[in-house]
Amino acid sequence: MASKWFVRNAHTVSFESSANDVWDIMSRFNERYVFVTDSEEMGKIVAYIRDTDIMPSLNDPAWKNHAVRQLPYHTNITFFQREADVLDFFKVFGEEVVVILNREGQLEGYLNREDILYYLLTNQSAHTDWIRSLLNSIPMGIIIADIHGRIENFSSEALRMMRVTADELRSQRVGELLDQNVFLKVVENGEAVLNHIIVNDRMGVLADFGPIRNRHGNVTGAIIVLQDLPFIEKMAMEMEYVKNLNTDLQGILSSIYDEILVLDAKGVLLRYSGNLIKDFWEINKEQLIGLNLMELEHEGTFFSAIVKMVIERKRKVSVTQESRSGKNVLAVGNPIFDEKGKLERIVIALRDVTETVMLKEELLQAKKMSEKYKKELEHLRDQKQYAKNRQLIYASEQIEQVMKYIQKIANTSSTVLLTGESGVGKEVFARTIYELGPRCSKPFVKVNCGAIPETLLESELFGYEKGAFTGANASGKPGYFRMAHKGVLFLDEVGEMPLNLQVKLLRVLQEREIIPVGGSEVVEVDVQIIAATNKNLEKMVEEGTFREDLYYRLNVIPVVIPPLRDRPEDIPLISLHFLQLFNEKYDRTTQLSQDALDLLESYPWPGNVRELQNIVERLVVTADEDLIEAHHITPLLKKGKKQYVKQRMNKIMPLKEATRAMEEQLIKLAMDEFKTTSLAAKMLGVSQSTISRKYQEIQEKIRRGEQIGFKV
C-alpha cells in the first residue's frame, strides 16, 4: 500500500548552483521547494529552499548570479522510508517537508505538510479518531461549543481540569460550567477573551475563549482553551478546606458545654464561643471582643493572671475560681504556637464545675462517714466478739463506772496505770483499753516485769545489738519496746521492777526513745504504756522502793479496779460464764444450783476473779453429778472470817432461825473485830452481859463443830 503513495518530485540543485537555477526550477515546475544536495556528502539532500524566501529578491538583477550557498536555506529535513506506516505519519505531522527515500536510501521524492494531513485524513486504515487523538495529545483542555453553549467536542484534558465526567460535560452548557458572561461576550460580539481566570471550589484554570466563524465571518460557536493553574487551584482548594473547617468548628463550638475564648498573644479577645456560663460574666461578653483581657477590671485579675501564666509558662495552665455568685469555674488556658514556636494564640476553655466540685466534696464526706460507720460497726462487732472471748463480764455499778472511764480515756494514747488486787483481771482491762483505742490495729505487747529475771529484763525491754553479750542472739533482738512500736506495751507487775531499770523506763517514757543494750544509736519508739500493779505504789514510793518520778510518770490516768468482793453482783455472771467455758473445754454439762451460786456470791474471793475461775474449773472437772450444789463447793473455799457476812436473804426460812443466825453472825463479827465484849457490845448497841452470854454460846457451838450463822 505504501508504495502507492503519491510522492512529489524533488528537484535538486547543488550549493554551487546559482539562484537563477533555483528560480528556474520553481517557476518551471511550479514548485514551492527546491532541495540542495551536498557533493561532499555523496550527493545527499541536506537542505531545502522555500519559494517565499527568495521571492523578495527576484527584482535584484545581481541576485540571480548568487550561489545557492548564499541563499536562505533550511536544513531541518525529516527523512522518511517509503515503507513507513500510518503511525509514522503522526510522528512527522507538522513538519514542513518530509523527504522520502526508497529502501536503498535513494531519493524518491518529498511530501509537504498538507500532503501528510491529507494522507492522515484520507487513510481508511486509521481507526484512531485522529482529531480526538490530536486534541488529547495537547496538554490543554479544549472545548468546542456551538453558539448556544452546547458542547460539541472536548479533549480528555478538559474533563480532568474541570473535574467532570464526559456525560456530565455533554449535558451542561459552557456558561454553566465556566462563565456565562464571558461566553456571551464571545459569541455575541465575536471577541476573543484571553487569560480569563476561573477559580471555584472545583477547579482553577486559565481560559482562552475564541469565536469560531464560518466562511461568511458569522460566529457559529466558540473554542475554549483551558490551562491548568496548579497554584491557584491549590489555593482554591485550601480556601475551600478552610471554609469547611470553619463551618465544622462553628458547629463543634456551639455544641460543646465549655465556653471557649480565643485570645491573641497579647491577651486581646478575638472570638468566643460555646455556652455562656450563667452568672459568671458580669459584663456582656460581646463588649469584650477586641479588648485586652489583661486590662479587664470587671472580671478582676482572674483572666489577666491566667494569660500571664500561659505566656510565662508556655504550657497549659488550669485555674479554678469561685465567682461572686458562688459559681465554681475551671479555666484551662492553652497556648498555641506558630511553626517557629512563637506564641500566636491563647485559648481559654471555661467550664462550670460547681456541680462537680460539690458532688466530689459530698462524695468525700460520704466516704468519710461510711468509713466512720464501718469502723464503728467493726468496733461494735469487735466489742461483741470481745465480750464473748475477752470476757469482760460485769453487772455491777462499780465496773460500769470503770468501763465508762476507760471508754473515755481509750481514745487518748496517755499512759494508764491500772491498780487492783491480784487476780481482778488487770490484763483484761488493759486489753480492753487497747482494743477500744486508736492503736487497736497495732501490736499489743505484754511484759510481766515480775516474771523476767532482773538481769534479763533490760535486754528484753530495750533489745540488744548483735554480739552485745555472750549467748545473745547473733542477729540481735528488737526488745519489747520496739516490738510494740505504734502499739501498746503492757507492763504487768510494774511494782516488781528493779530500781535501776525504773530509771531507764523513766527515760523511755520521757524521751520516747531507747538505746538497745550494747548499742550506741538512739532508736525512737512510739508506744502507749499501760502499767499494772497490785502493789501500793504510793507506799512503795514512801519506802523508797519505787521511784517517785516514775510513779508520777506512770500515774497519768489511774484506773482502780475494785476487788470482786466489792461487787458481788458480778459473781454469778462470771461464775456462769466460766462454767460455760469449762463445760465446753471439758465437754461437760454441769450446772450450778441456786444454792451454789448464793454460796459463791457470799464468798469474799481474796484471789478475786482468778480464784473464782480456778474454783469453777475444779468444780467442772471434779463434779460427779451434773448439778453442782452448795455442799460441793464449801470444802473448796477458804474459811474466812467474813465468810457468812455476805449471806443474803433469798429464800424463805423460819423467822426465828434467821434472827438467831443473823445474831450469831453479827456477834462473831463484832468479837473478831473488837476482841472485847465491852467494845463489841458498844458497837452492837446492847449490854455487855448480853454479848458475853451469847458469845459463850457461840463459842460452845463452834467447839462442838456446829455451824453458826446461816446454814449453807
Binding site: 493572671a305 501564666m309 488550669s318 485555674v319 479554678t320 475551671l330 466530689k360 462524695l363 468525700l364 466516704k367
Partner: protein, 85 residues
C-alpha cells in the same frame, strides 16, 4: 474508675519543692508540695488518699491563686484498685 481530685494552690507564690511524683501513693493530709509566699513557707496538703495522677508544676515555678497544681486519683488501698464509684 477512680475519681480525680485537684490539688489547688490557695496562694500566689513560688513552688519551693514538690514531694511526690506522678504515680506515687499519697495519703490525705500529707504535705504535697511546699510553696514560698512572700518569704513564708507554706505546705500544701493532699486533699485525698490515692495515686498522684498528674503534676502540673515544677520546682521554682510561679503559681497563682486557684491554680491546679496536680491531680490525685482517689484510691482506698495502696496497690489495690482505684475506688470504684
Amino acid at each position: 474508675m477512680g475519681l480525680k481530685y485537684d490539688v489547688i494552690s490557695p496562694f500566689e507564690g513560688t513552688i519551693e519543692r514538690t514531694w511526690f511524683q506522678s504515680g506515687d501513693w499519697v495519703e490525705e493530709g500529707e504535705v504535697f508540695c511546699t510553696l514560698t509566699v512572700t518569704g513564708k513557707r507554706i505546705d500544701i496538703l493532699s486533699p485525698v488518699t490515692g495515686y498522684v495522677n498528674e503534676i502540673e508544676i515544677e520546682q521554682g515555678e510561679l503559681v497563682i491563686v486557684g491554680m491546679i497544681l496536680a491531680s490525685i486519683m482517689m484510691s482506698d488501698v495502696e496497690g489495690g484498685n482505684p475506688t470504684s464509684i
